[in-house]
């Protein structure tokens, strides 16, 4: 469709008004603008979040609150979020990270959206503004079913993982700027040599980021050894629904998942 208006509102509420009227929400434009440029825009009106006051990144009392329009670069540069830096550096190029936003990352098609995989592993909460006011929703729900008509994700909150419990590993075709074959992000705590808690999120292996609940269950009470993790990776086959694309086949993604799950947790 030919674009007839690009709204650039200066508040989240104004963005909601345009969204409720059918305007397509645009964060950094890295997904919407390619469609516009190829004449395949999904709507005739766009609403950009660039000036809506949603670009802030704050870390306070062990909790990060990241505005939906914060760029991936801004997240990576925040001293309180350095644990995410290795993950962010696997996403696109530094140039695109100056444009792509945290909110937008929640709505991109797999095998993109590695930050969303991280946010799922962190069990983040989305702050959503809508025609009926504000609400919070688990990021898992937003990834699974999106938001309602007219709603806009305005921020994401997550508790920071403590030292030594955050794990991230992404298998890709090149060392830089390549989409996921398999992405693994996890928060895993151990005590007395065995796993007491794990939350593992996977990218690249299903139409959206998914939790590896079967692997999480298998790991509980067991040590993080090569064999146990291989077994957990095999169990994770029950949690995935992989696809073929130009990066890898569904068969390959499933085949290498246990290897990369193991490498994520046992570097």
């Amino acid at each position: 469709m030919v674009i007839q208006a690009v709204h650039v509102p200066e508040s989240a509420e104004a963005a909601v008004t345009y969204s409720a009227r059918g305007a397509w929400i645009m964060g950094g434009g890295t997904v919407v603008m390619p469609l516009v440029n190829s004449g395949a825009a999904p709507a005739t009106e766009l609403v950009s979040l660039r000036r809506a006051g949603l670009g802030g990144v704050e870390v306070r009392d062990g909790v990060a609150r990241i505005g939906a329009a914060a760029t991936l670069a801004a997240v990576g540069e925040h001293p309180g979020l350095s644990f995410l830096r290795p993950a962010l550096r696997t996403i696109a190029s530094p140039t695109l990270r100056n444009q792509a936003t945290v909110g937008g990352n929640l709505f991109v098609a797999q095998p993109y959206g590695d930050l969303a995989v991280c946010l799922l592993a962190l069990d983040a909460t989305c702050e959503i503004a809508g025609p009926d006011g504000r609400r919070d929703a688990p990021v898992a729900d937003v990834l699974a079913s999106g938001v309602g008509s007219g709603e806009v994700v305005v921020a994401v909150r997550a508790a920071l993982p403590g030292p030594g419990v955050w794990h991230y590993h992404k298998a890709m075709r090149r060392r830089l700027n390549s989409a996921a074959i398999v992405t693994v992000a996890a928060v895993t705590r151990t005590a007395d040599g065995v796993v007491t808690f794990s939350r593992i999120a996977l990218g690249g292996v299903a139409p959206r980021p998914v939790r590896a609940v079967s692997a999480e269950r298998l790991l509980r009470g067991r040590p993080l050894t090569h064999d146990v993790l291989t077994e957990a990776g095999e169990a994770a086959h029950g949690d995935i629904d992989p696809f073929d694309d130009a990066y890898a086949s569904a068969w390959y993604r499933a085949r290498v998942l246990p290897v990369h799950l193991r490498r994520a947790l046992l570097p």
Partner: protein, 161 residues
């Protein structure tokens, strides 16, 4: 919504032009302002040849709806050669044979300018990462990496020409 007047600070000068809804920063630079250094390659954000600096940071201009950057500062390759004199990066590209067909060059140089503004002494890995969003089909990248490292050296004054 009809076309509107958009104002940008381009290479230090305030410029105003009429933009149709959804027109890109790239099209505005090339077609409204006559600044054709930034090229239209893929128009999908994948090739980097349209890279310009927005408030000092590299962005692919093909993915920027120009209304969303109204009032901001944009730097293009035309703003690099002040007074027609090539700068260290441009000279290094010439001397190191880092340009062949030239289609990627404007984007490569703008990324290099931003990198060296931020970090005057980048490692080779830093350079490779910085240009990882810029495709070159001629050089095999090696001369470009060498040129950017050489430009950094020259800019630091460690090596005189």
């Amino acid at each position: 919504m009809p076309s509107q007047i958009v104002s940008l600070v381009v290479n230090g000068e305030r410029r105003e032009f009429i933009a149709a809804p959804g027109v890109t920063l790239l099209a505005s630079l090339r077609e409204s302002l006559g600044l054709t250094a930034a090229k239209r390659g893929c128009a999908q954000g994948a090739c980097g040849t349209c890279t310009v600096l927005v408030d000092g940071r590299p962005e692919v201009a093909c993915l920027v709806a120009v209304e969303t950057v109204a009032g901001r500062s944009v730097r293009t390759l035309e703003g690099v050669a002040a007074g027609g004199e090539l700068d260290e990066v441009q000279n290094a590209f010439v001397d190191c044979f880092a340009t062949q067909c030239g289609f990627c060059t404007a984007g490569m140089i703008m990324v290099a300018e931003a990198l060296l503004d931020r970090d005057p002494d980048p490692s080779e890995a830093d350079v490779v990462e910085a240009i990882s969003g810029n495709v070159c089909r001629c050089t095999g990248y090696r001369p470009i990496v060498i040129a950017i490292l050489e430009a950094a050296r020259r800019r630091r004054g460690a090596v005189s020409r």
